[in-house]
């Protein structure tokens, strides 16, 4: 059944209203999108219609929260073809019986999201394939983000019932398979990730990533910080491998939309330039660690990648004053203008950009041109574009599967629309494509930085406004809700915020790209060998700080 509302075509709010019909109990407009309030037993129906009829094929995020009188799950839907078209499906449930229909059969990414909502907020999802805790240990008592949760109450778990997920040996005399705990302390898990793998010889039969070891309550920390100052230092710590400014931008963009703050254009140029520097640093690290997984030792590629990342970090240190935890963006601009003398800074950055092609050639010789590397990576860790969309993959992972989706172009922000650059996609769908995408994105970022420098050099001296005039205490209107995303190093990094009239957000939800990307691991690794599992995990380029938050 085609209603003419295929992918990408503009769907007006009226169309949506007609499509959802009486299933919408109410309208609830968010800053970014129209919201429709839907009965908890009609979630699947409505989402299926929105996906198939109106082309909303991207479940970007699921936010769960508790009000005084109800629980609420908000499904933030977008289109891969045009992410500026958004719709929120709001599903309220009663406080005494918070049961809502699961969206997992419609969008597979809802699986993990609903587990998280269940874990932290306490909403139960009917028809969910596997509703158990995801971030907290199974023995956790209570749901920390629900209103009745007592923060002071210590978690009393006796030693005997304390769950040790690595303990059970899963002895199964019937089958020929072997259960293997990969992690939480394993050289190739890029942090503390625990992958429960079932092996048949060297072949991977099943994998189940067990996350949450690095859960640091980032959302709750942001909920207790003030919009104006105290939240900004924390985004640096989500994706802590030098992608800090990109994360800060996610918060800045959401908060600026929430409080309606205009950012001076000059600050936007600086933001764009510094964010792309971060992207280069992050991709260098991704490249280095992936090479580490495939080469097997801390060998040349890893060190060269770090050497080059070091140069970027020096530039960023000059600009922001810190090498990783920048805290450089402010609401309405940036903290500092370019360092004086400006010429020196431009020169240093240009020098780095000029050296890049030679270095790219070196990486090409070392990695992508290497036959053994090709044998290892081509056609391993296959991620079909349709599967990638189902899991909400974004960033280099999606682009390596041929999904042409980049928020810098599709949902423009900053100074990107004024600049000449391309979105890189590869059709290989394998580990090799993902490496290629990252390597080429470094070049594209270099192009962007180059143009930004040109613009900054030409900028008239008396017009260098780096911050808009933002009130000292920011109190957005109560019950404004916003969900905004930017293209971070790993993909779409979204922030949902609900204001309650105070100077701190009432609900702060982070949509982490790594969380989505990691959930595809089973799809990629099943039926392949252990080395491919490791390579696939490496090519996803996850940062556990962002997965677990």
């Amino acid at each position: 059944m085609s209603t003419g509302l295929e992918n990408g075509l503009e769907v007006s709010e009226d169309d949506l209203e007609t499509l959802i019909g009486d299933r919408a109990l109410d309208r609830e407009d968010h800053v970014n999108a129209p919201g429709f309030v839907v009965r908890p037993d009609q979630v699947q129906e409505v989402l299926t219609d929105l996906r198939d009829e109106a082309g909303f094929d991207h479940l970007s995020c699921l936010t769960a929260q508790q009000y005084e009188n109800r629980y609420e799950s908000i499904y933030h839907l977008k289109k891969y073809a045009d992410p500026t078209q958004e719709v929120s499906v709001v599903v309220p449930t009663a406080v005494d019986e918070p049961v809502s229909q699961s969206a997992a059969p419609v969008f597979r990414t809802a699986d993990w999201h609903e587990r998280e909502a269940y874990d932290l907020v306490g909403i139960e999802y009917d028809d969910h394939p596997d509703l158990r805790r995801i971030l907290l240990p199974d023995t956790w008592q209570g749901h920390p983000l629900s209103l009745e949760y007592d923060q002071e109450q210590p978690q009393v778990v006796t030693l005997s019932e304390h769950e040790n997920p690595v303990q059970p040996d899963h002895h199964d005399t019937e089958s020929d398979t072997m259960f293997l705990n990969i992690g939480p302390h394993h050289p190739a898990t890029h942090g503390v990730l625990h992958v429960k793998a079932v092996l048949d010889g060297e072949t991977v039969v099943d994998v189940d990533p067990d996350i949450g070891y690095l859960h640091r309550c980032e959302e709750q920390m942001c909920q207790s910080g003030t919009y104006r100052h105290q939240i900004m230092p924390y985004p640096d710590r989500w994706d802590y491998v030098s992608a800090g400014l990109l994360n800060e931008w996610a918060y800045a963009r959401a908060a600026e939309d929430l409080a309606d703050i205009e950012v001076p254009e000059y600050a936007q140029v600086i933001r764009t330039m510094s964010a792309e520097l971060c992207r280069i640093a992050a991709h260098m690290l991704a490249l280095g660690t992936f090479a580490l997984d495939v080469f097997g030792d801390f060998t040349a590629v890893f060190q060269y990648a770090f050497r080059d990342r070091e140069v970027v970090q020096d530039i960023l240190e000059d600009l922001t004053g810190q090498r990783l935890m920048f805290n450089y963006f402010r609401l309405g601009g940036v903290a500092w203008d370019l360092p004086e003398p400006r010429e020196e800074f431009f020169e240093k950055t240009r020098e780095f950009l000029d050296d890049l092609p030679a270095k790219a050639e070196e990486y090409h010789n070392l990695i992508t041109a290497n036959e053994i590397f090709q044998v290892r990576c081509v056609d391993t860790g296959i991620l079909e574009p349709e599967v990638a969309k189902q899991y909400g993959c974004t960033g280099p992972v999606a682009r390596g599967s041929g999904v042409d989706y980049d928020l810098r172009r599709d949902d423009p922000y900053g100074y990107y629309p004024e600049l000449e650059w391309n979105v890189v996609t590869e059709d290989g769908m394998d580990n090799y494509s993902r490496v290629l995408v990252r390597m080429q994105e470094v070049k594209e970022s270099a192009k962007i930085i180059e143009q930004c420098i040109d613009v900054l050099e030409e900028w008239p001296e008396d017009d260098r406004e780096i911050q808009a005039n933002v009130p000292r205490t920011l109190k957005p209107d109560a019950d404004t809700e916003v969900y905004r995303a930017v293209e971070a190093a790993k993909g779409e990094l979204g922030i949902y915020m609900r204001a309650d009239g105070t100077d701190t957000p009432a609900r702060f939800k982070i949509r982490s790209p790594c969380f989505h990307n990691l959930s595809t691991l089973a799809e990629m690794a099943q039926g392949e060998y252990i080395p491919d599992l490791i390579a696939s995990l490496g090519s996803l380029d996850i940062v556990l700080g962002e997965v677990d938050r």
Binding site: R228, H229, M232, E317, D318, W336, P339, N370, F373
Partner: protein, 153 residues
């Protein structure tokens, strides 16, 4: 096979040119940029005890104790807890608290890393860089912090 040889040639080139990108750290003090944020330095002479730094700190790193006449008695800073966001310096109206470039400090226990105002005063400058002076060109930028009431308590 060509690719393998190319890889080998690339690494061998690096081995032979003898250049290194690491530095011999304690012997060779690294250069930090003037904006670098390290350990705090506190000046009691400048401080007007407005408690803004304590209020803005996202981590409860700063703790100020005043007597009933609002005279400052203690200024404690848990350096091990600090996230070096520099917000205290940013909101300080008198530059009483600044972040030096000094990143070299140790402590055996957590308690060693709680600095009182005397310890904060004696924090050395890194390579004699005065952060206030070195950030002079940026000063106008970070002091312009919006309208709305300024609450000096």
């Amino acid at each position: 096979m060509i690719g393998l040889l190319k890889s080998m040639a690339t690494t061998m080139k690096h081995a032979l040119d003898g250049s290194t990108f690491t530095v011999e750290y304690p012997d060779e003090a690294p250069n930090v940029s003037p904006r670098f944020r390290g350990v705090h330095k506190f000046s009691q002479e400048r401080c007007i005890w407005c408690r803004q730094c304590e209020k803005v700190c996202p981590n409860d790193t700063i703790q100020i104790v005043m007597d009933d006449k609002r005279n400052g008695e203690q200024y404690n800073l848990h350096i091990g807890q600090c996230i070096y966001c520099r917000l205290c310096e940013e909101v300080c109206p008198t530059e009483a608290i600044v972040l030096t470039q000094n990143f070299e400090f140790t402590g055996d226990t957590k308690a060693d890393l709680v600095y009182n105002k005397e310890q904060l005063r004696s924090v050395p400058w890194y390579k004699d860089i005065d952060p206030v002076e070195s950030r002079e060109p940026d000063r106008s930028a970070w002091l312009g912090d919006g309208d709305g009431e300024v609450d000096y308590q």
